[in-house]
Amino acid sequence: MSEHVVSTLRRPLIDGGKDYARVSEDVCSPIERGPTSAWYYSIAASSTVLAIGAFLVFDQIWTGIGTWGLNKTVGWAFDITNFVFWVGIGHAGTLISAILFLFRQRWRTSVNRSAEAMTLFAVMCAGVFPLIHMGRPWLAYWVFPYPNTMGPLWVNFRSPLLWDVFAISTYFTVSAMFWYMGLLPDLALVAERAKGWRRMIYRTASLGWDGSMRTWTHYEALYLLLAGLATPLVLSVHTIVSFDFATSVLPGWHTTIFPPYFVDGAIFSGFAMVMTLMIIARKVMNFEEYITLRHIDAMCKITLATGMILTLGYCTELFFAWYGSNPYERFTFLNRLFGPYRWFYYTMFICNAFIPQALWSKRVRATPWIVFIISICINIGMWLERFNIIVISLHRDFLPSSWTMYHPTYIEIGTLLGSFGLFFTAFLLFCRVLPMIAISEVKGVLHYARRPEEGAHGH
């Protein structure tokens, strides 16, 4: 095919000169083999942490949320911090699957499946916290407008907390559907390779997918539509989360910078978590030819860019606290800088603003273990950011007589750890039962920057 000119500027997305059958084999074989001992150790650890967390959740529901370190001044702390943290983590998956799809960033195909799975698990972790915070989670359905005999009494449609209910539940539903639609062709392939009861299960799950071109045409249209819908959706979710704070009157919360600043921070933390997981997974699952250094490089660049925007956000906040001349606002930021929680603020600044600067270096971006450490720092920094926003603004508010300190109890810390247990347990189970890489999408980009005769024939 002489009309195919391969630009020397483009580099292949998938290494190792694979053909289609090889891709199926490579991605399906980890879920067809028995689990490795590393997998058993990991799931034993993560499910133990999950079990401890579940016990603590049971305890705080049984006893009441008075078991937390909250007091009259600090009414929101660990719980909401964890909620915002996990929702933020949940943003990278849809960003990779939807926004990068619309921007025709074809490298996304190697990482979108697991990033989307990660999104779903992170949103599940996030959802747990408001549920516990209700104190009586069996009445959780009260947040939805349903016909009732209490009035008729409706939820307050003008409250950001209710917007949150709609945003998070819509986000979870749409992300789950988007992910499942992407899985259909791969499930059919796994069913084709499987035998016995496994085949029955995968065949049922694949909904009878047969790879018909007539279906593919509609499928492509559907995928584009879902990407187009998920893009504004993902931006709306963290915008609405930020409204929970921004629509209040509290200094440090009541600011118009919050929506873009929250969305950017969410993408930043989400990409950090994707890299944390992917750097381990590519090694453990032998996916280094699929999730190449080039993919890590691209994700590092997005992390760096969003990190710079976030740093700009931090500086803007400080600048306007000074320039705005509102004494309460000014005090809140002085309290962040020099108050009793100052080390939390400095650590956040170092983790989110300074450490990611190392990603300017090409050598750093090409060294997975350094990127891994940076991604862990960002995860810590982004959790601290939410803690700083929530607790430092609350603990010293307008009335000095009610100033106080907040200390988490072991129950709150255990519940946070338990949510990590849930996240990693779910992710490890996902690695075992579903293809971690979008096989059909990778096949579509297999010949990117390669001559068409390469791979398809021979080898």
Binding site: Y20, F157, M177, M181, A188, I439, K443, A456
Partner: protein, 172 residues
């Protein structure tokens, strides 16, 4: 009634696109093609019409927006009038976020269900995917032509276009 087919199995997506073009030009009826991924250009080569899903999506989205705004207005103005933050009953901006979320929710759930139901994609453990033994889910590109008239010419066209194998199959 079974559909009698002549299928050509190809190893590369370029060959199947070229074969589909030739088969259409020669006046044969293309039943379908089975491919491991969405081969770009094959839909036009087969002469498939563009998907109707965008239109369905628009309809569902509009329904979602209308549902959300009218319900919010009815609940907070008519059924149980409430003044929040001193705003008038008809202050629309605060109703927009939920209006947006339901637009997205209805549009995406509606489009997915429309896609699944119109393409007959429903859970069924007994259903064997059509012609799946030919490798169209894995690494082969299967072009299925309706067997009509000169079957020999059909077979020749497929093998001339680069098919590694030409077979007779039937679809139930």
């Amino acid at each position: 009634m079974a559909t009698e087919l002549v299928v050509g199995i190809f190893r590369s997506e370029h060959d199947i696109v070229a074969a589909a073009k030739k088969a259409r030009a020669a006046g044969f009826t293309i039943q379908d093609a089975y491919t491991p991924f969405a081969v770009h250009g094959l839909d036009t080569a087969m002469g498939l019409p563009p998907s109707f899903l965008p239109l369905a999506c628009l309809g569902f989205g509009a329904a979602g927006l209308a549902t959300a705004l009218s319900f919010e207005y009815w609940a907070t103005r008519i059924d149980w009038p409430m003044i929040i933050g001193g705003k008038s009953y008809s202050a629309i901006p605060a109703l927009i976020p939920i209006g947006f979320e339901l637009t997205v929710l209805f549009a995406s759930v509606g489009s997915v269900l429309t896609f699944l139901l119109t393409r007959g994609l429903i859970p069924n453990p007994e259903k064997v995917p059509a012609l799946s033994s030919l490798g169209g889910l894995n690494d082969r590109f299967v072009l299925a032509l309706k067997r009509s008239g000169d079957a020999a010419a059909l077979r020749r066209l497929l093998s001339d276009a680069g098919a590694v194998e030409v077979k007779e199959e039937s679809l139930p």
